[in-house]
Amino acid sequence: MTSTIVFIALVVVLVVTSSGWPEVKEAFFNREIFRSSFGEIASAFLINVKIFCIAEAIVLVTALGVAVLRGLPGPVFFPVRLLAIVYVDFFRGIPTILLIYLLGFGVPALQLSGVPTSELFWGTVSLVLVYTAYVSEVYRSGIESVHPSQNAAARSLGLSHAQALRHVVVPQAVRRVVPPLLNDFIGLQKDTALVGVLGVVEAFKQTQIDQASTFNFTPGVVAAVLFLLITIPLTRFTDYLVARERQRRQAAGVAA
């Protein structure tokens, strides 16, 4: 505890006494600009929250689908497995910002009738594609971590492959992967800022507008605070879920 306090104090002193500090303080921690830009950035942040909520709900389902397809047994399903592998390799392998750029500016350029040109739509679609690839791998690792005997036992009781997955394997798998799942969702939440390249005025874009207008970087600090306000409680909440799960399992073990 003491060592922590001493360390933090040292860092603070080092920063505050550096020759560039007054300039940095004025440029990054200007109270007046913080207050005046907060409202605008906070309302732009609602767009990030909206993209995040929609994308997360879809990703949770589609990613599980991809993971299950990739785990289908037997040579008959080889093409399906291959497709799932190619999908994951492709969308995990390209930079998210590039995909957003390509879909957001590329598809509307085709001028197809009936195909939406909304940036918000294509930005969200890109995020869903990329994060489905990431999250499906998380699910897959969870599914593969469930001992094969569980599946064998379920099948020997007469459950089909689908039933065994639904009632035995997936529930255990999902519980195990909650922390890495959340990790990816924090990533998703931050990546919503990338949709700004399409001209959508979300929190980061609003930050840039304010920065460019005032030549001051304080609005960036405002956006950082807003993102942290969401991500930190989310992390603590997962920690709590994980701890509760562990306690339950231990309690069950004792009772048995």
């Binding site: 300039e23 001209g199 030549f215």
Partner: protein, 286 residues
């Protein structure tokens, strides 16, 4: 023999001194010879601008292997390139003593040391911006203008009030954004793009109805980038908006550049360059 050598030395020294004086006196601005200036690299004027640098601000054919794309700032062609060289020559710099360095707009006002003596990339003066950097006096007074696609509804608009129902796009960090928000006040808020190129793409894709940019930039857009676009109209100047060169806060070099700009304004050079590079016309919206 020995005396002769001494004499030769003496003459040589005098010649060098005279050359030095001549060099110093080449500056048209008193007290601002290049030797007396506090520069990033002594004897060199380092000028920053955005990359790619576009016509009509920068022209000339892109040089192979150069970091600068689309145009060549070293060409001295294009309004801002020409102005920079005119200022440099007022301060006594030869063409070869001017170095261009690509600098992103955001970096131009980040705190700390700057990679340029001054930066010019159509940066509008604003009092709040002047808290972070030092601006030179104006080298161009600017109007905003609306670009739309030919044959679309926005192309028929004649008044500012008539612009309200349309979706606008603007490049990030521009006074065009301020103009749209403050004076056009459209029903839906404008989309803001990282670069002018992205905004132009959005116009081409019909993701926006109108693009608002400074008027001189419309020439390149309507002629080269989107041939089926047109200048809907110039927007009346509301704020006496002007471009200034950006200096590190408190850089004393600004005083000399301002003197040079004053000379260039007085002798008509700026007007001449403006006519040469920024001519064009469009209806004024009321």
């Amino acid at each position: 023999m020995r005396r002769l050598t001494l004499l030769t030395l003496c003459v040589a020294a005098l010649a060098v001194l005279a050359a030095g004086l001549a060099q110093g006196s080449r500056s048209a601005v008193p007290g601002c010879g290049k030797g007396s200036l506090d520069l990033l690299h002594s004897g060199q004027l380092t000028v920053g601008t955005d990359n790619p640098a576009f016509p009509p601000w920068f022209d000339g054919v892109e040089k192979k292997g150069s970091t600068f794309k689309t145009s060549n700032p070293y060409s001295g062609k294009g309004y801002e390139s020409a102005v920079a060289y005119a200022v440099a020559s007022q301060l006594g710099f030869k063409h070869s003593e001017v170095t261009w360095t690509p600098v992103a707009f955001l970096r131009s006002f980040a705190p700390g040391s700057k990679p340029f003596d001054f930066y010019l990339a159509q940066v509008s003066f604003k009092p709040v911006r002047a808290k972070a950097v030092t601006f030179s006096n104006s080298y161009y007074f600017v109007n905003q203008a609306v670009v739309g696609l030919k044959g679309t509804k926005i192309a028929k608009v004649k008044t500012i009030a008539g612009l309200k129902p349309f979706q606008f796009g603007v490049p990030l960090g521009t006074t065009s954004y301020d103009y749209v928000v403050r004076y056009i006040k459209p029903n839906s808020s404008p989309k803001v793009y990282d670069t002018l190129n992205d905004a132009v793409t959005a116009l081409k894709n019909k993701q926006i109805d109108g693009l608002v940019v400074d008027f001189p930039s419309t020439g390149y857009i309507t002629a080269v980038q989107v041939p089926n676009s047109t200048v809907v109209g110039r927007l009346p100047s509301k704020t006496n908006e002007h471009f200034g060169m950006v200096f590190k806060k408190g850089n004393p070099l600004v005083a000399c550049v301002n003197k040079a700009l004053a000379v260039l304004t007085r002798n008509g050079t700026l007007k001449k360059l403006e006519r040469q590079y920024l001519a064009g016309s469009g209806p004024l919206l009321k």
